[in-house]
Structure formats: C-alpha cells, structure tokens
C-alpha cells in the first residue's frame, strides 16, 4: 500500500491482490516452506531431522527479516501475523485435544501440577540469580527479569505492575523470547536424553517450560502425538507466573 513499489502497473495489481488477501498468501508461503523442508529432510538429511523441525527453523530465520513482529513487519507478509497469531494458534492447539487420551492426563495430573509450580519458581529465581550476577541489584529490575525468564508475557505484566523502567521490561521480554526460541530448537535434540517420549513426561515438560509457543513447536518437531499433552499444562503457566511474580516472588526478592 504505502510501499515504494515498482511502478509497473502489473506489479501493482499483484501487490494489491496480496495486500487484500494476506492470510491466503500466508497459506501459500507456509505451504512452500513445508514442501521445501520435507524435501530437504527426506533427500538431503535422510530423515534424521524431522521436516517439521526444519520448517520451524526456517520460520525463525525468516523472522530475522523483520523486527517486532518478525516477517510480518514486511508489508508483503503481513498475513503471516494472522496465520501465526494467537487466535488461530490456540484454535488449532485446542483441536489436538481430540486425539489426547484422558486417562493419561488423569494419571499425570499431580506431576503436571507440581511441574507447573516448580517450573515457575525455578525459572524465576534462576533468572533473578543470573541477573544479579550480571550486575543488576535493585529488586524491581531483578523481579522483572526473573519474570521474563518465565515467559515473555509474564515479564512485561510483572514489570508494569511493579513499575520497572521500559528498558528493563524490554530485556525481560527478550529473555522470554530467547527461552521460547531455545526451547523450540533444543527440544527435539534433547528429547531422548530427558526421556521425553510419552504423554506423561510431555505433561511435565509443558508445566516446567511453560512457554506455550516453545513447548508446542518443540514437541511438534519431536513427536506430534505429544503436543496436546504439553499444551495442556503450558497454557496454565503464564497465568500462574502473572499471579506469583508481581506478588509473592517480588516480596521475596525485595526482602533480600
């Protein structure tokens, strides 16, 4: 629309069509990424790395082309923000419950609950310790960065609640994003070593890591069948973090 696009009238028509049908164009783009990834996985890597994992890494690389909203910052690809946005993501994730086994969920219920509390506490306090080691000393900054180590939503929610400066909030968001991306990439590599190969440990995994995007993407790249189980607990994590960090955890940090 506002792009200094080439003046050729046919180019303008093409751009206009894509502008008006961004979501459809996103289907095409992601489809092409998937075709390419699965081709590479099969023919170049002998199926040693799942095609889904390659597709996700390509997605992350594409995100570098933009800024805040990744590739969606490039006007041509604005539709990617709709396809990859929270609404469709959550809708699709809920639909995976169709293939989840309720008895597995029941059996892992307690472990999942403990994992949630452990995950939030460990992430927060380890985040605080690392920030402390890096030279941050005031309780507000420490708490905000620790909260960011939970997820990139807990960070700004906490920071805003306790009055952190905007650059500290930015750091906390970036910390959460690093966690999401690192989880996405490392999960399929480390899955065997941490016995992440059954619904039970997927539920624990979701509760411990908590970054819904990272958990879903990481599990998808590991074994698609595990996704609903990880998503189930991860979805409670951010809420729990938003509950604990600006209140109990902040008081604990302020006390020291």
């Amino acid at each position: 629309m506002k792009m200094p696009c080439p003046n050729h009238p046919r180019m303008e028509i093409a751009r206009d069509i894509i502008d008006k049908n961004g979501l459809i164009f996103a289907f095409l783009c992601v489809g092409l990424v998937m075709v390419f990834s699965f081709w590479v996985a099969k023919h170049l890597l002998g199926n040693k790395i799942p095609g889904v994992a390659i597709a996700i890494v390509i997605g992350l690389a594409l995100a570098l082309l933009g800024g805040n909203k990744g590739i969606a910052d490039v006007p041509l690809f604005a539709g990617m923000a709709v396809l990859g946005g929270a609404m469709l993501r959550d809708f699709a994730v809920v639909s995976t419950a169709m293939s989840a086994d309720l008895s597995q969920v029941k059996r892992a219920g307690l472990a999942g609950l403990i994992a949630l509390f452990t995950g939030v506490s460990v992430s927060f306090f380890l985040g605080v310790l690392i920030a402390l080691a890096m030279g941050y000393t005031d309780a507000v900054s420490l708490t905000t960065i620790g909260a960011g180590a939970c997820t990139y939503i807990v960070g700004p929610v906490t920071g805003t609640a306790i009055g952190a400066s905007s650059d500290v909030i930015a750091i906390s968001v970036a910390t959460g994003v690093v966690k999401t991306i690192f989880t996405t990439i490392v999960t399929p590599l480390i899955a065997k070593a941490i016995q992440l190969d059954n619904p039970h440990s997927a539920i624990v995994f979701g509760g411990l890591l908590g970054t819904t995007s990272g958990v879903i993407a990481g599990l998808a790249a590991t074994d698609e069948k595990l996704v609903p189980y990880g998503a189930l607990t991860a979805t409670f994590y951010t809420g729990l973090g938003c509950l604990l960090c600006p209140s109990v955890f902040y008081l604990v940090v302020a006390f020291f």
Binding site: A92, A97, S123, I145, A149, A174
Partner: protein, 132 residues
C-alpha cells in the same frame, strides 16, 4: 457435516477462553489463565460423551481433525512472526537467563516425570531402576 465439528470446536474454544478470563478476573489478573487448557478439557469431554451417544459421525470429526492437521503450518507461521532479532540483540543477560533457565527446566523433566508413575510398573515401557 464438517461444519458441525468446527462449530463444536469453536464452542469449546470460546467457553474455555471465557473460563480462563473469568478465573483471571477472580484473582485480579487481567489475563487469560489456562483458557486453552479448559477448552481442551471441554473438547475431550465432548468427544467422549458424543462418541458414547453415537453422535459423532466421521464427517463431523473430520471438521476438527482438519484443524489439528493445520497446527504445524500455523506453528511455522508463528515462528516466522517472533521477535527473533530482539532475542539476538538483547545482550548477554537475555541470552544467559533465557538459555540457562531453559536448560535447568529441561533437566528437571525426567526427575518430575517419576511422580505418579509408580502404579504403572506393569507396563514394559520403562525398566525399573533404569540407570542411565
């Protein structure tokens, strides 16, 4: 009809989100707590109930299964819209905290996975006292 399945999914989704937001309001946080989780439980319950009543023809089910097949492309699109640049340029604190915390939590997975596992020793999938 496929739309029945999609509509059922939409109903579960919206009710779940509503519950999540109500829970958030209840404890004074302006956000959604576990909305997706509640929605998943609703869908699992509906699945079991409708199957028992024989009200879930394959055609209806395929409306839901379409969306669960779509989530991987959606995840790829999501990955492409993350703020990767900020993550890379956030400085050392960001990297250290993000990576350190993730590794620590991952290492806890096998430890906490033992909880609630005691009653299924009969299953051959995990050798008891496996020393790895």
């Amino acid at each position: 009809m496929k739309i029945y399945g999609v509509a059922l999914l939409a109903a579960c989704f919206l009710i779940g989100k509503l519950l999540g937001n109500l829970l958030g309001q209840l404890i004074n946080i302006d956000s959604d707590i576990g909305g997706v989780g509640f929605a998943m439980f609703l869908l699992m319950a509906a699945n079991i109930y409708l199957r028992r009543k024989n009200l879930l023809p394959p055609e209806t089910e395929s409306g839901i299964l379409f969306w669960s097949a779509m989530y991987i492309p959606i995840i790829v699109a999501m990955a492409a819209t993350l703020n990767v640049r900020a993550a890379l340029s956030g400085g050392f604190v960001t990297l250290a905290a993000g990576v350190g915390v993730t590794v620590a939590c991952m290492l806890l997975v096998p430890v906490l996975s033992k909880i609630g596992r005691g009653d299924e020793n009969a299953l051959p999938q995990s050798p008891e006292d496996g020393d790895r």
